[in-house]
Amino acid sequence: MEKEPASKVELSKDVAGGEIPTFDVTLKVRRYNPEVSDEAHWDEWQLTMYGTDRVLDALHKVKWEHDGSVSFRRSCAHGVCGSDAMRINGRNRLACKTLLKDLDTSKPILVEPIKGLPVEKDLIVDMEPFFQSYREIMPFLISKGHEPAKERLQSAEERDRYDDTTKCILCAACTSSCPVFWTDGQYFGPAAIVNAHRFIFDSRDDAGDMRLEILNDKEGVWRCRTTFNCSEACPRGIQVTKAISEVKQAILTRKV
């Protein structure tokens, strides 16, 4: 039997919280618009921001109060939709998950589009090559035999086996942080491998061998140089490099 929590408790004084401080930041955004010029350049703004503000809030402040032409994708604004991956001070992050106070605000904050994908305008890149790689690994459950009347059974342990890679939001922060992907656009890239992993290690799936064969390709997992950029970049905390290693291991042993 579960224990009922107390009807009344003494709250600690800290619970009250405090006023949210404000501070000034310099935001520098890499601008590119082929309708205007073939050359990219930097624009810079001084902004007063709040302690709970994120880089996305700073970008919105620019767009809404200073220059409406600054262009970037965003939607959910709390790190689950994957729209606003960008390079922030040289690291791939989601703008909506990066608090300004966690950056060094004594220096300008540099915001650029993610690398390795063609830039369309300002921080917007062409995502099609990224989704093309994703589609190639057959990112859907393939099961042979009869469909059960009710659900397929899967133990909690079997479910845990691929839990980490189900968290992917396809933001491309990992793939576009990978030096191999920058130099070789044919490489599947970490995100596609993560999504292959999600099915290869799912006990309900019967197409693991096919996916392993696809990733055994010369543009597959063997291009990975384990630089760990992808794991550091993942805003969902997926251990990307570990997942790639597990796929490599599975190709060698043909055991999942």
Binding site: L11, S12, G18, C76, V80, C81, K121, E151, D163, K167
Partner: protein, 592 residues
């Protein structure tokens, strides 16, 4: 202008749109148009689960689920629709599992289930474990699984194609010997964000699945992109909107930010406390306490704050207490929301209570449909070829207050129904000729926004709109606050004619996009406020302090809002009513 031709066009690629596409795409030539990328849709932000009476962990049945849905909606639910949803819920969950959704599992390997607000055993006796879930990222898993299956079935997506108009033609039909004019679908007009070009899609069937309108409010769990476009397009084209006064405020948004913390937290045992450390829900809902439906919990929280028992420096929020739960349990069942608390508020939920306050979450109302997902042009006339499903639609399964998890269910059950019905219709119907000059209205709309040089800022008008909606059309409402809101909206609308869009380019002109979105927000705010003014009673998510009781005699009806410039007292919105469908349950007092 390019013209495309498809049997079925689906507008929106969230849960409802993609669930429809999976059915339709296997039967008829289908295109899905979305102003985002499919995986960015806000279905992915849903957390807690999807209810279905699988009875995997304790006794349950779909009739109890139906009853809870009807009672949760304060008896304004169409009971035939609730019955369909609760019955088909079971298959909907099993469909998703078969498509690959990684549900959490019981020790026997079956789909695990947990408690959720308002879901009870045997007509309200005690909370029941009915919500099927994948940690606290069930919506993410549903969105991903549906997208994966769209890839599997080669569904054609037009990403970042923003639909701006619905093309319909008037047809003469003879009904009971009488000649009547009836609307019929011809297609849609969309704006390609990448190129700035207009594309016309001719289609036999059009399915609207474009989501909600949460951005009329400042404090909201909704994405920036949820601006009521689908509802607005339909409304402008003469389709009524049903029950728009009912908007759900989710009790547990992160204070000041509105980011959602799932009700699953309370389902897993978390409780709400006021500044005195009191578990105040014991006073408001003695039987199911913190697991009362959202309208009741949100109102109770707002009331605690009003009566001076709010926490924090401004005493303007309450606290969600998880500190009595095991950290391992929190990590296993609620990993994402605890991370939100850490990331955005710097609060450690293992040891500190989390500041929370109601956040605008879900539109119960929308484009009226029947249980086949066919759109209605009035109380009973179907528009042949036009369908709607998900938050954009009003079936009505949520009545005046939606139960938690029933939206993920709604999109799956009625998304599937819409996809099937749209494909079936397309297989027998002929294309309707596209009207002459199909992009005329859309071009005018865009040109007005692009060429106006009045200097008003879109972002500022939007902020003022959101401020007045938060202040005057939130949990508590009165005639006075609503009239004031309408007055402000009218002035904002006038200023909206004088905006300046700074970006003059064609390529990814998101400045223009935001201007167009604001037009829809203004329209929808007006409809919501006018409908709230019209309903002089309190029911579910709509609480009128000047009419604090439910009034079944006068208001046990759906409201139907029509665009009508002659309705000058209510800003061009005319209100009519539509009967509620009853099958099994007679209205009772709603107590928990």
């Amino acid at each position: 202008m390019q013209v495309h031709k498809y049997d079925v066009v689906i507008v929106g690629a969230g849960g409802a749109g993609m669930r429809a596409a999976i059915e339709s795409g296997q039967r008829a030539r289908t295109a899905v148009l979305t102003k985002l990328y499919p995986t960015r849709s806000h279905t992915g932000a849903a957390q807690g689960g999807m209810c279905a009476a699988l009875a995997n962990v304790e006794e349950d049945n779909w009739e109890w689920h139906t009853f809870d849905t009807v009672k949760g909606g304060d008896y304004l639910v169409d009971q035939d629709a609730a019955e369909v949803m609760a019955k088909e819920a079971i298959e909907a969950v099993l469909d998703l599992e078969k498509m690959g959704l990684p549900f959490n599992r019981t020790p026997e390997g079956r789909i695990d289930q947990r408690r959720f607000g308002g879901h009870t055993r045997d007509h309200g006796k005690a909370p029941v474990r009915r919500s099927c879930y994948a940690a606290d990222r069930t919506g993410h898993m549903i969105l991903q699984t549906l997208y994966q299956n769209c890839v599997k079935h080669n569904v054609e997506f037009y990403n970042e194609y923003y639909v701006l108009d619905l093309l319909m033609v008037d047809e003469q039909v003879i009904v009971d010997g009488e000649t009547r004019i009836q609307k019929r679908v011809a297609g849609v007009v969309s704006y390609d964000l990448a190129s700035g070009e207009l594309h016309v899609f001719q289609a036999k069937s059009v399915v609207f699945a474009s989501g909600g309108v949460g951005k009329v409010y400042k404090t909201t769990s909704n994405a920036h992109t949820l601006t009521g476009d689908g509802m607005g397009i339909a409304f402008r084209r003469g389709i009524p909107l049903e029950d728009m006064e009912f908007f759900q405020f989710h009790p547990t948004g992160l204070a000041g930010l509105g980011i959602l913390l799932s009700e699953a937290a309370r389902g897993e045992g978390a409780i709400l406390r006021n500044s005195e450390g009191e578990r105040f829900m014991e006073r408001y809902a003695p039987t199911i306490k913190d697991l009362a439906p959202r309208d009741i919990v949100a109102r109770s929280m707002a009331n605690e704050v009003r009566e001076g028992r709010g926490a924090g420096p401004n005493k303007d929020y309450v606290l969600l207490d998880l500190t009595h739960l095991e950290p391992a349990h929190i990590d296993a069942k609620l990993p994402d929301i605890t991370e939100f608390a850490r990331t955005y508020l710097g609060v450690e939920p293992y040891t500190e209570p989390v500041p929370v306050f109601p956040t605008a979450h879900y539109a119960m109302g929308g484009i009226p449909t029947n249980i086949e997902a066919e759109v209605l042009a009035d109380n009973d006339t179907v528009v042949p070829g036009l369908y709607a499903a998900g938050e954009v639609a009003c079936v009505s399964v949520h009545g005046s207050n939606r139960l938690g998890t029933n939206s993920l269910l709604d999109i799956n059950v009625f998304g599937k129904r819409a996809g099937l019905a749209a494909a079936e219709y397309a297989l027998t119907a002929d294309f309707v000729e596209i009207p002459e000059n199909p992009t005329l209205e859309t071009e005018e709309l865009l040109n007005r926004a692009r060429s106006s040089e009045g200097g008003e800022r879109v972002a500022l008008i939007r902020k003022e709109l959101q401020d007045i909606m938060d202040a005057n059309v939130q949990v508590f409402r009165t005639e006075e606050t609503l009239l004031e809101a309408l007055r402000v909206i009218d002035t904002l609308e006038e200023r909206y004619t004088r905006i300046t869009v700074q970006d003059k380019g064609k390529r990814f002109n998101l400045d223009l996009l935001e201007a167009v979105e604001l037009g829809f927000l203004l329209d929808m705010a007006k409809v919501m406020t006018a409908a709230a003014l019209h309903r002089k009673e309190s029911r579910g998510g709509h609480f009128r302090e000047d009419y604090p009781e439910r009034d079944d005699e006068n208001f046990m009806t759906h409201s139907m809002a029509y665009k009508d410039p002659s309705a000058t007292l209510t800003s061009g919105v005319r209100l009519e009513t539509k009967p509620v469908i009853f099958t099994r349950y007679q209205p009772m007092e709603r107590k928990y």
